[in-house]
């Protein structure tokens, strides 16, 4: 799979919804055309952009019978920040496919939830249009609250399209 590269302002701008949530259910069910689909339900939601009910169910193409490599996968109980677009329409309901999924993990030493990208690389901040990672900066991962602030700042003052 080759995917359009999306920077942070684009993730925020293109998302129809931005939510923080916990996976509570995963279900495989083919659609009416027999296409395999995996439905991932998130609860305990914090909505940063758009609207959502008490739960949000995202539809991903594939399942055990048809697995597309690099399609984001989830486990019940894990938490994530999701930049959602095209849910129910597209192969993957996340902006930039794996780029629109950020993992939220609890850091025992810091007593805080911290954020990493889909590939488990800790997010350490932002510089210009790009999110920074630990490999770049050596800094600790941002907390979830700090990441939420990055999103809020971009929503309040959009950077605009890349030149």
């Amino acid at each position: 799979m080759v995917v359009l590269q999306r920077d942070f302002p684009e993730l925020v701008a293109r998302a129809e919804q931005i939510v923080v949530g916990t996976v509570t259910e995963m279900r495989e069910q083919p659609d009416d055309a027999g296409t395999p689909m995996t439905y991932v339900t998130f609860a305990d939601l914090t909505v940063l952009k758009g609207t959502a009910g008490d739960t949000l169910t995202l539809r991903f193409y594939g399942g055990a019978a048809a697995r597309v490599p690099d399609m984001p996968t989830f486990n019940v109980g894990e938490r994530a920040v999701l930049f959602v677009a095209g849910n129910g329409r597209d192969v993957c309901p996340l902006v930039g496919v794996w780029q629109g999924r950020f993992r939220v993990q609890y850091d025992d030493a810091r007593h805080a939830e911290v954020v990493a990208d889909n590939d488990h690389a800790p997010v350490t901040g932002r510089a210009g249009r790009a999110l920074l990672h630990a490999a770049d900066t050596g800094a600790p991962a941002v907390t979830l609250d700090e990441f939420r602030q990055l999103v809020a700042d971009e929503l309040a003052h959009p950077t605009g399209p890349a030149q």
């Binding site: 799979m1 080759v2 590269q5 027999g34 490599p69 690099d70 192969v91 488990h120 030149q163």
Partner: protein, 279 residues
Amino acid sequence: MFLAATLALLPAAVSYGFVCIQTSNGRCIHWADGAATLRSFLGNSSTALLNGTFNWDQNAINAANDWNLTGAAFHFTVEVGGQFNNPCGPAGPNHVCPNTGPPGDNPVFFANDFCGQGFGDIIELTNNCWNSNTGEMFNAPVFVNAFATGMAAWNAYDGALRTTVVSGRVVPLYDIRRVLLHEFGHVLGLDHPDLRGQTVQAIMNSRISNLDRLQPDDVSGIFSLYPNSAPPPPAGTNPNSCQIDPARRGGLAWMAVPALLLVLGPRRATASGCRSPRR
């Protein structure tokens, strides 16, 4: 037997950067016969492409030939046109897996969506289909986003990535040759090393970059899946060597390609330092 033993002993990534697409039981997916036939339906372009070619199919042929020229025990055959078996549909008599066609059928074609599902931000998608126990591949259709929404555009060129203007907006201009080179890596069973925590120079990385030719890590990847009796030297042992040299290795690989499509466009130095003779 040998291939199966090699795959069983070789972890996905120990001293190399590449990774294979794996079955749920950890086997690398692969073509049992070390060969796959691609059928290109990409067709002609309305104007000459930036790299001097005149049709999209030629770029598919050139991309497949790059993999063939590595010398690994794997061979792509590329056919142009012919019977198009629509891969879209549930698993059944004409679909080995959901949204793939009959066994051995690997069409490469432009599409406005992936079997009724929007592409979203996906530029190209290879829908590999394999035996869940052995990892033996049945087929792998390649869906190329036709960019009907104008979010990007296609051309064919070497070097740094470019942009273009579509409907007054600056959008990415993608080089179809290097994107197909990447997707054909998925067809033969390779995955994205950078999405597995590895930092390598590779066409198989998840992000399209200024790299426009196979890198030593990619070559190591195909050799890991399809070794022959003379694997390439480890990357970095001879900075002056060129592992991909069409002038030396072209003959046998080209015999499988329709004769009228043998002409390759001009080539320039690759990021790895390989330089092929100018035509």
